[in-house]
C-alpha cells in the first residue's frame, strides 16, 4: 500500500517555511494604520419580526464610531445576489446583507458596531436595544411544509426555495418492472466546514469619503483584504450590490487557514464591512469569532432522502429514485440549493442505472443558511445510492462488494453518459474496488476483524465507491443556465531577466498546496528547475480572472491546464531566444533544469544557455534577440474545460463499535483513488486523508444541533466535536493514474475525493461489525445509544450474523 514515499514528484512544499515559523500573514495578522473594529449584533432568536433597533446607548459609549442598522445597509447597497440561481422557478428573497424586516435565524445580523477595538465594539454591541416580535420557529422539514406553516419569507407562497426533477429512461416507473425493490428513508445531519481560522475581512474605502463631492461619479477605490476562496466572485458581488465598477475594487487574499468550501461562499459581512468603511472613512476590520462561526458561516449537508432501488433476478440494477430534501436556512446562501441539486446529476454514482429519477427540494427553516462544504452535494448523493445498494444486497442475500462490482460502469463503456447529464469520462471503476479489496485482504484486515469478533468485539469492514465531478465547465454550457458564472481559468507565466519564472493564477491557496502544485506543473511544461518557479495569487489587480474561484476541485485540471498551456507557450519563446543565442535550430535543442542545451552531438562539450542568459537577452541585453521576437518573456493562456472530468475511487474502512458504549471508532482507512496524473503524491494523499477525516467527524461525532426553539446548541469546539488525533486511524492511499482524454494537464481534481464515500463506507463497516445485516443504518451521525441498543438486543436474543 504505497503512498509513493520515493516518488520524485513528492517534493517539499514551497509554502511550508513561512507557515512553520509563523511568519506568513493571515487575515487577522493584518491591520492597516487607523483601523477600526467591527462587532456584529446578531439575532438571539430564530424567527422574529424586528420592531425597533435603538442604537442611542451604544453610540454614546466610549470608543464607538458608528452603529449600522438594516436601514443603513438598505441605503448603501442592493440585495445580495444568489450565485447559484440556476433552477427554473427558484424563489428570490431580495434580502440585504443585514436583516431589515425579520430575523430568520439565530446569528442573523441585525446591527454592526464600529469602535476603536474589538472589545469596545463588543461592549457597545451589548447596548444595542432591539425589539422583537417573536414568531414560531420553523426548524425542520415537517414544520416548514405544513399547510399552515409560518412563512419565513413573507412574499413566498410556502417555504420551498426550489424543486428540480431530473430523470433518465423511464424514470421511477421502471421500478415496477423490477423483481426486487427496496425502499429506505435516509437522513444526514447538519455539518459545516469549520476551518480552524474563522472568516475575516478588512475593507478600506477611505477614499470614498475623502473624494466625496470632488468629482462627479468618483467613488474612490475599495480595497478589501479577505480570506476568500473566490476573490473574483466577491469582487463581482460587491460591485453589484454597491453599484460601483469592478475595476474600482481590489480584493487581496492573504494566507487562508483552511476553507473547505465554507470560504467559497460570499457573505453579508463583506458588504457590511465595506459600507462601514465608507461611512467612517477608515479601514474597518471584522474577524468572525469562534462562537459566531457556528451560526454565521454556511452550514451544509443536512438532508432527508427517500430512496428506492430496483433490480432484476440477477441483481442487475434497473431503476433508482431518490427524493432529496435539503434543510436550507432562513436566508439563501450564495450557492442557493446547488449542493442539494447536485444529486440530480450525481445521484447514481459509479453505477449503470438505466432508469433513474431524482428530485431535489430545498426547504427553508430558521437555521443558519446552507452552503458549501467540501464535496458539496456529492456525499449526500453518495449516501443515497450506496446505502440503497447495501440494502439491496441484504434483500438479495448477496455480498455488497460483489453487487457493486456487478453494477459498476465498466472501462469499455467509457466515456459513459450516466443518463442524468454527467459524462463519466475515463477510468476503470471496478478495478479500483477490486484493488482496494485485494489490498486490505493482503494486509489481513478480514482476519483481524474475524479475530476481534471471535473475541467478543464488534469490528467490521466496509466498502464504498465514489465519483467526484471535478474541473467544472464548460463556460458556454454554464452560461445557458440562469447563472452568471463561467468555469474557465486564465494563467499568466513570465520569466524575468534572471531566469526566474512567475506563475500568476486566479486560484487561491488555502492549505491545499497550489504554490507547489502549479509550480510543478509549470516546471514540467517549461523545463524549469522547480526552485526557479514562483506562484503568485490572491490579488485581483495583478492576477488573472477566474470566475468560479477555488472550489469544485478545479486547481489541477483547470488551473493546471491553463498554467501548462501558458508554460508551453513560454517554452517555445525560450527555445526561440536560445536558438538565436546558440545559433542552433530550435529543433535541435532540449529544455531541462532551467537550461537549453544542444541535443547530444559528437562535440563532447555540449553547448547550452541558461534561463538567466535567455532572460537577459529578452529584457536587458537585447542584441541577440531575434527580430521577430518582441522583448520580454510572457505567456498567457485560458483553459475552458470541455466538460467535467470525473475522478473516482473506492474506500475501505475498518470500524470498532465498543460493546459497552456503542461508540464507533475507525481503526483503519484505505483508499484507491484515480485523479489522473498525480502532480505531487504527498499533496494528493494529504487531500484525501484530510477530507476523509472531516467526514469521519460528521459520521461519528460532528453535528450542528438546535433545540426545539431554534437555538443552536453547538456553538463551541466543546459541542461541535471535530476529530482529534486519537480519533483518526492510520491511513493509506493507492493511486491509479488514468489520464482523462480532454484535460491537457492530465489531472483530475482530488480535494473532495476523501469526503464523498466516507459516510457510506463507515455505515457499511458498522453494519458489518454488528448483527442485523446491511442497510439498517439510515441516519448519520451515528448515535452510540442506537448501536448499543442493537448490541444489547442481540446479546439478549443471541442473534448472530
Amino acid at each position: 500500500m504505497s503512498t509513493h514515499s520515493d516518488d520524485p514528484r513528492r517534493i517539499p512544499r514551497a509554502e511550508d517555511d513561512g507557515l512553520l515559523d509563523g511568519s506568513r500573514t493571515f487575515i487577522d495578522d493584518l491591520e492597516p494604520r487607523g483601523t477600526l473594529h467591527l462587532a456584529m449584533v446578531r439575532s438571539p432568536v430564530a424567527h422574529a419580526r424586528i420592531l425597533s433597533v435603538d442604537t442611542a446607548d451604544a453610540l454614546s459609549m466610549p470608543g464607538v464610531h458608528a452603529v449600522l442598522t438594516g436601514d443603513d445597509i438598505a441605503r448603501h447597497s442592493a440585495p445580495t445576489p444568489i450565485g447559484w440561481n440556476h433552477i427554473p422557478g427558484q424563489r428570490q428573497s431580495g434580502s440585504l446583507a443585514m436583516a431589515t424586516d425579520k430575523a430568520r435565524y439565530v446569528g442573523h445580523i441585525i446591527a454592526a458596531v464600529v469602535a476603536d477595538d474589538r472589545a469596545a465594539a463588543e461592549d457597545a454591541a451589548e447596548a444595542v436595544d432591539i425589539g422583537y416580535d417573536v414568531l414560531p420557529a420553523v426548524m425542520n422539514i415537517d414544520q416548514a411544509r405544513k399547510a399552515d406553516a409560518p412563512l419565513i419569507h413573507d412574499s413566498w407562497p410556502d417555504n420551498v426555495l426550489a424543486i428540480e426533477e431530473h430523470s433518465s429512461g423511464e424514470g421511477r416507473d421502471a421500478l415496477r418492472s423490477a423483481s426486487a425493490v427496496v425502499d429506505l428513508d435516509l437522513r444526514i445531519g447538519r455539518a459545516f466546514g469549520c476551518p480552524l481560522e474563522t472568516r475575516g475581512v478588512i475593507a478600506d474605502w477611505g477614499l470614498a469619503s475623502k473624494r466625496a463631492g470632488q468629482r462627479s461619479g468618483s467613488v474612490g477605490r475599495l480595497v478589501v483584504d479577505l480570506n476568500s476562496q473566490s476573490p473574483n466572485r466577491v469582487r463581482e458581488m460587491l460591485a453589484e450590490v454597491l453599484d460601483i465598477s469592478i475595476s474600482d475594487i481590489l480584493i487581496r487574499v492573504p494566507a487562508i487557514g483552511g476553507g473547505f468550501g465554507s470560504k467559497a461562499n460570499y457573505y453579508g459581512e463583506e458588504i457590511i464591512t465595506a459600507i462601514a468603511s465608507k461611512v467612517c472613512g477608515r479601514p474597518i476590520k471584522y474577524i468572525e469569532d469562534r462562537s459566531e462561526s457556528f451560526v454565521a458561516t454556511s452550514h451544509a449537508r443536512e438532508a432527508q432522502m427517500s430512496v428506492s432501488i430496483g433490480a432484476d433476478d440477477n441483481g442487475t440494477v434497473i431503476a433508482f429514485r431518490n427524493d432529496v430534501v435539503g434543510v436550507m436556512g432562513g436566508e439563501v446562501s450564495s450557492v442557493g440549493m446547488g449542493p442539494v441539486w447536485v444529486s440530480t446529476r450525481a445521484g447514481i454514482g459509479s453505477y449503470v442505472v438505466p432508469h433513474a429519477d431524482i428530485t431535489t427540494t430545498g426547504v427553508m427553516t430558521n437555521r443558519t443558511p446552507f452552503g458549501s462544504f467540501r464535496g458539496w452535494g456529492s456525499p449526500i448523493a453518495n449516501f443515497g445510492i450506496e446505502r440503497a445498494i447495501d440494502a439491496l444486497a441484504e434483500e438479495l442475500a448477496v455480498d455488497p462488494v460483489e453487487l457493486r462490482l456487478q453494477n459498476m460502469v465498466r472501462p469499455e463503456q467509457m466515456p459513459f453518459p450516466n443518463g442524468l447529464g454527467w459524462r463519466l469520462d475515463s477510468g476503470d471503476y471496478p478495478e479500483a474496488l477490486r484493488r482496494a479489496r485485494a489490498s486490505v485482504t493482503e494486509a489481513g484486515w478480514f482476519e483481524e476483524a474475524e479475530a476481534a469478533r471471535a473475541d467478543g468485539r464488534f469490528v467490521g469492514v466496509g466498502f464504498a465507491n465514489f465519483v467526484e465531478a471535478t474541473g467544472v465547465g464548460n463556460s458556454r454550457k454554464m452560461g445557458a443556465l440562469p447563472m452568471e458564472q463561467g468555469g474557465f481559468d486564465e494563467a499568466v507565466v513570465r520569466m524575468d531577466s534572471t531566469g526566474t519564472v512567475q506563475v500568476f493564477t486566479g486560484q487561491t491557496a488555502m492549505g491545499q498546496g497550489i504554490e507547489t502544485t502549479l509550480a510543478q506543473v509549470c516546471a514540467r511544461a517549461l523545463g524549469a528547475s522547480i526552485d526557479d518557479v514562483r506562484v503568485l495569487f490572491g490579488d485581483t489587480d495583478s492576477c488573472p480572472y477566474t470566475g468560479y474561484g477555488t472550489g469544485g476541485c478545479r486547481t489541477a485540471p483547470v488551473a493546471g491546464s491553463s498554467v501548462m498551456l501558458a508554460s508551453q507557450d513560454l517554452r517555445n519563446q525560450v527555445l526561440d531566444v536560445a536558438s538565436s543565442l546558440l545559433d542552433v535550430p530550435a529543433t535541435q535543442l532540449t529544455v531541462a533544469d532551467s537550461k537549453v542545451s544542444v541535443n547530444a552531438s559528437s562535440d563532447s562539450e555540449a553547448k547550452s544557455v541558461s534561463f538567466a542568459d535567455i532572460g537577459m537577452a529578452a529584457y536587458r541585453k537585447l542584441n541577440h534577440l531575434p527580430e521577430h521576437h518582441s522583448p520580454t518573456l510572457h505567456a498567457r493562456a485560458v483553459w475552458d474545460p470541455i466538460d467535467r472530468t470525473i475522478g473516482y475511487g473506492s474506500i475501505v474502512v475498518m470500524v470498532d463499535v465498543c460493546a459497552d458504549t456503542g461508540i464507533a471508532k475507525v481503526l483503519r482507512f484505505h483508499a484507491v483513488d484515480d485523479c489522473g496524473y498525480v502532480v505531487n503524491p504527498a499533496i494528493v494523499d494529504g487531500q484525501v486523508m484530510g477530507a476523509f477525516v472531516q467526514v469521519l467527524g460528521s459520521s461519528l461525532m460532528e453535528e450542528m444541533r438546535y433545540d426545539d426553539g431554534g437555538n443552536p446548541v453547538t456553538t463551541s469546539f466543546k459541542d461541535y466535536l471535530v476529530p482529534l488525533a486519537a480519533d483518526v486511524p492510520t491511513m493509506s492511499i493507492d493511486h491509479m493514474e488514468t489520464l482523462p482524454p480532454d484535460v491537457p494537464s492530465g489531472s483530475k481534481g482530488v480535494g473532495e475525493a476523501g469526503t464523498i464515500a466516507a459516510m457510506s463506507a463507515i455505515a457499511q463497516a458498522v453494519e458489518n461489525a454488528l448483527p442485523g445485516g446491511y442497510g439498517w443504518i439510515r441516519s448519520l451521525p451515528l448515535r452510540p445509544e442506537q448501536l448499543l441498543a442493537r448490541i444489547n438486543r442481540a446479546a439478549n436474543s443471541e442473534v448472530t450474523r
Partner: protein
C-alpha cells in the same frame, strides 16, 4: 459559589452577541491569602482567578463578567504539596501537572496519572489548578470525583481570619455550585494517607472531551489482602460527583468476589440522575453508568483478593 455554567454542552449564548473579548475588569495581585480575601471583600463583584482554564473562556464569552479579578497565582503560600504521616496536603493553587510530578502522591493515589491525563489537555494542565477545578464544580470533572473517592477534606479560609475544614462530600452545592461563601477562599486539600487500590473509567464522545459518564473506585485492602473498605464515586451523571454506598455495600457483602462486581455495578443505574438531552438520553447515560462503575471496580479490585499484585488502572474508553 461558582454560579456560572460551563463552556460547552449546549451553552446558549447571552442575548444579542457572540462575544470573544472579556468585559473590562480591575486586576489585583495579592501577596497573601489574607490580602486576597480583603481585596475580594472590598470589591463590588470580584472573583478569584486560579488557573483560569475555565474562568477565562467564560469571561471571553461574557458568561462571567466580574468587576474585579483577584489573582491567586501570586499567592505563593497556596501552592505546593507536603506529606505527613496522616495526610497529604495539597495547596489549592497546585497545578494539575504538578500533582503527577509528585512521586509520593502518585503512590498514595495509584490512579492519579490516568485521572490527571483526562483533565483538560497538556496545555491546560500546566496552568489549571486542583483548587480551581474543585471550585468550578463541574459535575463532569475528574478531580472533584477523585477527591471524594479518597475521602479528602478541604480547608477554607475566611476574611474574618477563621478557617474551617470541610469533607469534600459537603463541599459541592450542586451543578457548578459549591458551599464556599463569598468571603472565603479554598486554601488546601488534605488527602488521608492510606494504602489504596484504585480503578478509574470514563466515557467520552470523542477521544478527549468532557466525560458523559465516569467512575472512580478506591479500595483498601488489609495486610492479608482482604478487602477492608471501598469507596465508589460516579461523576458526570448527576449534578455533582456522587458516592454510591449501595454499590459499595453490595461489593463488601460479597467480600469483593469478582462475580459480584457486575451485579453491584448494575445498582448504579437507579442511583444516578443524568440529564436528558436530545442527542444523549438519560437512559443511555444510565447504561453507561453501569459500565463505568463496573470498569472502575474491576480496576480497583484484583481478581483474587489474596494477591498483592498492584491493580492496573483502566484508561480505555
Amino acid at each position: 459559589m461558582t454560579p456560572c455554567g460551563p463552556v460547552g454542552y449546549g451553552q446558549t449564548l447571552p442575548p444579542n452577541l457572540q462575544p470573544v473579548k472579556p468585559a473590562a475588569f480591575k486586576y489585583h495581585r495579592p501577596g497573601s491569602v489574607a490580602e486576597a480575601l480583603a481585596m475580594k471583600a472590598a470589591a463590588e463583584d470580584a472573583r478569584f482567578l486560579a488557573g483560569g482554564q475555565s474562568l477565562v473562556p467564560m469571561m471571553s464569552l461574557r458568561l462571567a463578567a466580574p468587576s474585579d479579578l483577584i489573582d491567586l497565582n501570586t499567592v505563593e503560600e497556596l501552592a505546593g504539596i507536603s506529606h505527613s504521616a496522616s495526610h497529604v496536603r495539597i495547596g489549592a493553587m497546585t497545578r494539575q501537572v504538578d500533582l503527577v510530578n509528585d512521586e509520593a502522591l502518585r503512590r498514595q493515589i495509584p490512579a492519579l496519572n490516568a485521572i490527571v491525563d483526562s483533565v483538560g489537555h497538556p496545555g491546560t494542565r500546566t496552568r489549571g489548578t486542583i483548587g480551581g477545578s474543585l471550585c468550578h464544580a463541574d459535575p463532569s470533572a475528574e478531580l472533584p470525583a477523585l477527591l471524594l473517592a479518597v475521602d479528602a477534606e478541604v480547608v477554607i479560609a475566611s476574611s474574618d481570619g477563621q478557617t474551617r475544614t470541610v469533607p469534600v462530600r459537603d463541599f459541592f452545592g450542586g451543578y457548578f455550585e459549591t458551599t464556599i461563601g463569598p468571603n472565603e477562599v479554598l486554601t488546601e486539600i488534605r488527602v488521608p494517607v492510606a494504602s489504596r487500590r484504585m480503578g478509574f473509567h470514563e466515557v467520552t464522545l470523542r477521544s478527549d472531551e468532557f466525560a458523559i459518564a465516569g467512575a472512580i473506585a478506591s479500595a483498601h485492602l488489609d495486610t492479608s489482602g482482604t478487602l477492608d473498605s471501598l469507596r465508589v464515586v460516579a461523576f458526570a451523571l448527576s449534578d455533582r460527583p456522587q458516592r454510591l454506598p449501595e454499590v459499595e455495600t453490595s461489593v463488601m457483602n460479597a467480600a469483593g468476589h469478582p462475580d459480584s462486581l457486575r451485579a453491584a455495578a448494575q445498582l448504579t443505574e437507579q442511583l444516578v440522575s443524568p440529564t436528558d438531552e436530545p442527542h444523549l438520553s438519560a437512559n443511555y447515560r444510565r447504561q453507561l453508568s453501569v459500565v463505568v462503575v463496573r470498569r472502575a471496580l474491576e480496576g480497583a479490585l484484583p481478581t483474587t483478593l489474596t494477591t498483592t499484585e498492584p491493580a492496573t488502572t483502566d484508561e480505555s474508553r
